[in-house]
Symmetry: C2
Subunit: 395 residues, 2 copies
């Protein structure tokens, strides 16, 4: 077991107690400063998304340049992705909730990547048909968040490969085994699919520029664990003639049982609230969730609780507070000892159940049209670029 000072964060392994300040130094990323947040707020008409305002996004690469260019009229597109291995839980929504808001505020096209190939390659016990079906299911969940279908398209790896592959071939020539070994910690027993895969995660960053034949900036909201993929992408961007993608990094939220991160598979189903959980399951999970409360009611009334270590406060913080006023009220009540854990749980439970029920309806409504957003196509017959079905929204 790593000590508190030792931790590992890669797309394929997160372990130890993550020191985010140290992680920024290790990865060489930048602070998401108040000045940058102000730039976003001004552009967004005075609002700031709670995930930005509450520090869940904490780090970036080249965000300032991207916002400066946008202010001068060079718009960016958004890109984030999902490796489909099972049902989504609420933490999976972090990048997509922010993307949906940014799409609206910055009038930005959004590209969602569903990496069904990758999940099959890196996860034992899943068939390709399973990752494929979870991919379609997860996609409906993501689209149900309210992305504008006119400005949103999907790279579904095994479906979109015809349109992605020529560019992936260009990328793959620039990356060698030494690099993926050191960046992802791969050993020689890693399968050649997982080794190749990072090329496909670079593709959406460059694809709109490739398709349009001009430089279009890319902004990627994602968990900090995905940063290694995009370090590879950024390192080779210039040599391929495309802009380096900019990044916005979130922390990894703790699970309900205090485990390091929410997890889709394994024995930790109770550690997260899945979007397909029944109301009774949600109730049970929240009832059992670890909080920052004290041993007795008396002690809590006297000392207050500690929101920073509370998995229920994390739910309020990331998604379920109606607005900043409510979030501040819950936080103050928690700290002061006025709001006891049982009451807090009952309040958040209603919010979570309402969200899941509304979400299920929105998901059903988008399911029929989800597949129409998948980019399918191939290479032009002169080998000069992609030809795809349907219109591609470009900034």
């Amino acid at each position: 077991m790593p000590t508190k000072e030792e931790f590992v964060v890669t797309p394929y392994e997160v372990k130890g107690h993550i020191d985010y300040q140290r992680l920024k130094e290790l990865f060489g990323t930048q602070d998401l400063t108040p000045a940058l947040l102000d730039q976003i707020r001004v552009r967004a008409g005075g609002e700031l998304h709670p995930l930005l305002a509450r520090g869940i996004y904490f780090s970036h690469r080249d965000l300032g340049e991207t916002l400066d260019r946008a202010a001068r009229g060079q718009r960016f597109f958004l890109y984030s992705g999902r490796g489909p291995s099972g049902p989504l839980h609420t933490s999976h929504l972090l990048p997509f909730d922010l993307c949906r808001w940014l799409q609206q505020k910055f009038d930005a096209p959004m590209y969602i990547q569903i990496t069904d190939d990758e999940k099959f390659w890196v996860r034992a016990g899943l068939t390709r048909e399973e990752t494929y079906r979870w991919g379609l299911d997860n996609l409906a969940d993501l689209l149900a968040l309210g992305f504008d279908p006119k400005r949103t398209r999907v790279f579904f790896d095994t479906r979109s490969i015809g349109a992605m592959y020529p560019l992936a071939v260009d990328v793959a020539k620039k990356v060698n085994f030494s690099t993926v070994k050191s960046v992802f910690g791969f050993s020689a027993s890693q399968n050649i699919g997982a080794i190749f895969y990072t090329a496909l995660q670079s593709v959406p960053c460059f694809w709109p520029s490739w398709y349009a034949g001009r430089a279009i900036p890319c902004l990627i909201p994602c968990g900090i664990d995905q940063d290694p993929h995009f370090r590879v992408t950024r390192d080779l961007a210039e040599s391929l003639g495309y802009p380096k993608p900019a990044l916005l990094h979130s922390v990894m939220l703790p699970g309900l049982l205090g485990e390091r991160v929410m997890s889709t598979t394994g024995d930790s189903k109770d550690n997260a609230i899945f979007l397909d959980d029944r109301p009774k399951e949600v109730e049970r999970k929240i009832k059992n969730a670890l909080t920052g409360g004290r041993a007795t009611v008396e002690e809590q009334r006297r000392l207050g609780a500690v929101p920073e270590i509370c998995s229920v406060w994390a739910l309020w913080r990331a998604k379920f507070a109606r607005d900043d006023a409510e979030f501040d009220e819950v936080t103050r009540g928690c700290r002061s000892g006025e709001l006891l854990c049982g009451d807090c749980k009952s309040r958040v439970l209603v919010r979570v159940q309402d969200f899941l029920s509304e979400h299920a309806k929105r998901k059903e409504a988008v399911r029929a049209t989800a597949e129409s957003l998948i980019i399918e196509g191939g290479e032009r017959s002169d080998g000069s670029g992609p030809v795809v079905r349907g219109e591609i929204p470009l900034p």
Copy 2:
């Protein structure tokens, strides 16, 4: 430099003086015995293709089983491929001349793979657009050999990837870096495209079975240097539920200047006769070709020449003798000293020039329809298998 005893044969490197007997032992392949050749001859109505009769194909894997099954009514399909890095030369035709004959005699579907991605990955100084365009050009050359368009289809990697990829994903999960490192001699500085590529060379072996949902045997005529790819394929076939492909291996023919093998690129343009060479170029190359002749006419008349070390005799042997009678006559004349090298060269030159001129016409005739044979498509939307454009011929 390797000594006479040291040689290397992989798809990516051929060096040293190849001892084919030793290579069979190293690779664990079987002798192409007279009994097996007889089986083919009987099935082919008493004929045997010169490449088989003259020992250019010399080794195999599972050919007996494949012929036995065919005799019992379970037909096989043929598969061979080309990595497009420039114009074809006559040695590139070895597998395809044999395939065309086998297609006719065994009523076998033929799948040609054009690996434009692979050549881009492993060859410095070629752009992806160049390997793509050479791919289309080489394909026209191959189809001009007379394949039956009704029974011939093409996997053109960057064009066919949509139809190939799901199966490649299955294969890639079963192959790790240790394997490609030991089989192909790759180092950690190898790019991740070249590392992934062997998965794509397995795909045509299994694809018809995957598409049809039943086991269809595959026979691959190829240079022995390609055997390592198919060792990987054969090792994982059973675990994926497909038949192991059978193989027929040819030697690597010596070049006109005595270099180990004909080469498409580099300084060795004079070492091979390219299908797009002008008549004057062919004349010059054959004039300069190394023979097995003696120092003087007198000596040659007295001792005879040595066909086994002659690059001109290799042309007669592999392709340009009209029939066995002519081949035997040339060989006898050479050995006895009756046929001098200058006369032999003049005779073969006419044959080569005639072939190239006829070939150019046939190539123009097939060029327009070549692309219609490329398999394009993708995965079924339930992830259960490939859906492709047009009819796929299956045995």
